[in-house]
Subunit: 199 residues, 4 copies
DNA sequence: TTATAAACGAGACGGTACGTCTTGTCTTATG
DNA sequence: CATAAGACAAGACGTACCGTCTCGTTTATAA
């Protein structure tokens, strides 16, 4: 709640800084699923990472900042599938990569926590939107060979059911479910566009 | 983190208890959007509701319990639309009622918070599932005149995009978006079933 | 610290009142050495005595009042030795009865607690003085056959070492110690008085 | 009742720590006679000393620990009289110094409270015994020039009446009373020893 | 190579909240 | 209608974490 004083963060070029930062993030990723977002206190994290609380504050003045780093430097966030001209195949692969991403416990917790905070923390809200836009752009990138661009609404129509199943229904996202999502999604996608050529 | 001792809650039949309980819930609903879930401390709530912290603990041993009550006794959760035989119309109306419900700030925050907690709090997880099932059942109820029953997957396909737009994209759910969702949704709904009769 | 409102105490003539009162006092006597004066809360006492806290407040508006009763209705406070004309014998017997009295754990704790409170609680101070005077008077009574009256100073010279040994040194009061006290005490007692006639 | 976790106390070498510690002890000494031992809550003390409760717990994990410090670092506890070869004079002076010490209100209350606790708190019991032994040793020290050593029993015979008068009779310890105590005490002290040479 | 700057460890401190306990009063329902 | 059960306000308890602030000590880069 309280806005901490923003001292300058450690110079990232310094190798010592890098070492500390990476060790802490790794420990945080281990800890997060264990204790939950609420339980990931700086006190605990400092102890586990053999670091002073002060050091944590130097690197991440806000706990939200730490969560952002956890999300953005996610372990396999970069593992997007290959682009292709088959829209159905690309969309399916992209959804599966999304499913894989949010199956990493630390990522799950971090995303949910940021989401819950977004209503009252502009930084979190902005980060959330930015993450969404990144993934949206990535999808469009993958679909470039197919000559298709996805609008905001279409994007949400595609990923919405998957995340709802994971976060809200708290059930598994089966391949069959993904297929159903994609099939339905294709029906309204660019009606009368190039998509039809693949059917 | 710590499991608080579960003493028996105040007898709900007692009018004094009811008075206290309702006043606190009302204040909590006002406070939640102001200060966020993290800022809704028992200390603050007690002060604003002119009540002792002890009293809060008596009524809601866990802060999650308070959130459940906030969700379940939501201000207008019962305002479901009318049943009908036109599947498109019913689905659209139901989605709009969902949108209305989640637009109440206190409800928004409460739901998001419970969702974020669900990974590490079995009670929250269970509550979340139960809420989903209730709404699912309600939808099926509305669709009974149409002779249609919605499966779990179909249910998620319907509401998923709407909540994703609200919570993750953090954008407005327009009527057009709802129409798009419903249109897409109808295509795969019970292929060859009674739905076709309305097209 | 807070002076509770003085509602009227239960009529002591009522046999039911007597029963309750005695049961509570008995339980308190058991409890006192177990949990200490600080641990003898009304909540605990009420639970153990199967009585409502209200009832305790009705009988003893102040915890000091309860302690007074514990001291004054001590189990064997009345067991003074026989009067006699041999000053040494009477004094020795009286000291031994004193030793016996404060060896009862509940009595010990109660007396020490009242003593510690006396500096800031006039009631306790007064009660303490009164108890001392009673015992002083009792001693003089025992010594009447010997034709001796003990002054305040002489009284303190007699019992002081014994209680100091018990409470401050926290050591045992042996018969030898009592003999030493009495011997020393006799030397300055009424120099040249009737005491000499017994030597 | 509950044994608080014994974290390590603040490093006494740190000057800031010393400052805090001394300020708190000074305020506690002022407060003790005002509010009594029961009223000397950490909450009150913290407020008066402009310190957080947490700071108090860091320095004195137990309230008993605070009382010990109050007693041991008493304002003028070290002001023993001069040694000498005149036993009567030394004993008298020593008793007067005892009287002076226990007349400091904070010391009075602290000693009485620790005494009352000693029955159920081993730490208090041990501290009490240690304080007694210290004073006993000091007395023997003063009497060294006189070639006299006081046994435990003799020690109690000397100081017992004085403290009994102060704490139990709650009366003043006059010079005359001290003279009476010493006179009586000398009669049985080392019968046939060097003491006689001073008569 | 030595400065010099930065990161870091250690830990005291003021705050705030936690979940619990006891106290004294007051309300409600019941027998 | 008196009495129990127990809700309530008040406030202390001992603990935890937060964010800040010294202090020294190490580590890395620059002179």
């Amino acid at each position: 709640m309280k806005q901490p004083l923003h001292r300058r963060q450690p110079t990232s070029s310094n190798p010592r800084v890098q070492r500390t930062r990476n060790r802490v993030l790794a420990i945080a990723r281990e800890l997060l699923p264990e204790v939950g977002a609420g339980g990931l206190t700086y006190a605990l994290l400092a102890e586990r990472a053999s670091v002073t609380r002060q050091t944590l504050y130097r690197h991440w003045p806000t706990r939200a900042a730490l969560l952002f780093d956890l999300i953005l430097e996610g372990p396999d966030l970069g593992t997007y599938p290959e682009p292709g001209s088959d829209v159905r195949a690309v969309a399916t692969a992209w959804l599966k990569s999304l499913r894989a991403g949010v199956s990493v416990p630390a990522m799950r917790t971090a995303v949910l926590t940021v989401t819950a905070q977004a209503d009252h923390d502009p930084d979190s809200a902005q980060a959330l939107v930015r993450i969404g836009e990144d993934r949206h752009a990535a999808l469009n990138n993958l679909l470039e060979p197919a000559g298709v661009r996805i609008s905001d609404d279409e994007y949400t129509l595609l990923y919405g059911p998957v995340l709802a199943r994971l976060f809200l229904d708290r059930g598994p996202v089966t391949d069959a479910f993904i297929d159903a999502v994609v099939s339905q999604w294709l029906t309204t996608l660019h009606p009368g566009s190039a998509v039809g050529s693949h059917m």
